[in-house]
Symmetry: C3
Subunit: 139 residues, 3 copies
């Protein structure tokens, strides 16, 4: 069994952002030499998500608006978590809706994707360096 | 390490539907010959979900009503994504709540399930052919 | 390829609870002898979740309040599922928001975690014994 580990780093200039990370994951897969197996991609920080959906700007604005309605950023004091001095209580909730991780099949050396599947990093408390882990196992 | 890939195809007659796909995944597992490992089942389309829950009709109606409240289908122009000519903006949101994929343990040649776990295909923009991927690795 | 299976059991005294289960998963990983691979942790019951987030009491109260707003427990008859004699319709919805499972990378014999990642059991219909499955594959 082969195994491969790679870190992707992000530092988004805004509090919230969606970043298409598919090319970096594909590059990690090539470096791994794995032809058949599973590829885990997960946020290592708990106010960020990794998810798969469409690379369409309007949709990302819809997600932003929808998540803000489900778990508003303000008022800051709305969240007990923010009593610790943080202002990211909402980000911990948004991340649960969008998910921590994706597991992607690897087939014949490629991410085994449907026609529009793309891997996104979802940032809900940005403006600092955060890490995504890529772990690939297989043969 | 063994690996096995299988596609399940769906074409639901209604826009939204939940389809119990456990028998097809079990059949794929038998065909794979894997006795110990992991089984990934994921929607390959981004307006559909794969999730695990109860095979109970009332619950599925509850899901339908709840998701429609969280992300209403109409008005169509509510979603920026629909400016592309689509009418499925809501489906991209519903799919995030219900999830893209499940990973199931394989133990002694069987899906290692609790008493009521069943695998569902969740369709949120149906009336066309869509694919679910089953990828099994192990030994 | 090595494989390892372990069950964690919970019986929370309240209907809803979040229990940090990281030490038990780490112990299972040590027992497995796996140094590189993937670790699946999933609720085997469909009114419970396994998720990764922060071990901070205020945040857990925020989750509790937020989930109760998204899918209120009462009135019981609000949910068609409860016509079966159950009163846990809400728990099936809450579990979808928080998720069934996590997949964690195993690197050099350890859960490959970011600085604040902790594995939680999320109970939404407690006061009875329920099981979480840990399945580890790798080498």
């Amino acid at each position: 069994m082969k195994h491969f580990r790679h870190e992707l780093w992000f530092n988004t200039p805004s509090r919230r952002a969606f970043v298409n990370s598919t090319p970096q994951v594909e590059e990690a897969l090539r470096d791994s030499g794995v032809r058949e197996g599973l590829c885990l991609v997960n946020a290592m920080h708990i106010t960020a998500s990794v998810f798969i959906n469409d690379d369409e700007g309007g949709l990302h604005e819809d997600y932003e608006e929808w998540l803000e309605k489900l778990a508003p950023h303000e008022p800051i004091k709305r969240y007990r978590h923010n009593r610790t001095g943080e202002d990211n209580g909402d980000a911990h909730l948004k991340r649960q809706v969008m998910g921590r991780e994706v597991v992607v099949a690897v087939t014949e050396g490629r991410l085994d994707f449907g026609p529009w599947e793309q891997i996104f990093y979802g940032e809900f408390d940005g403006r600092r360096r955060k890490c995504v882990l890529v772990k690939i196992i297989g043969e």
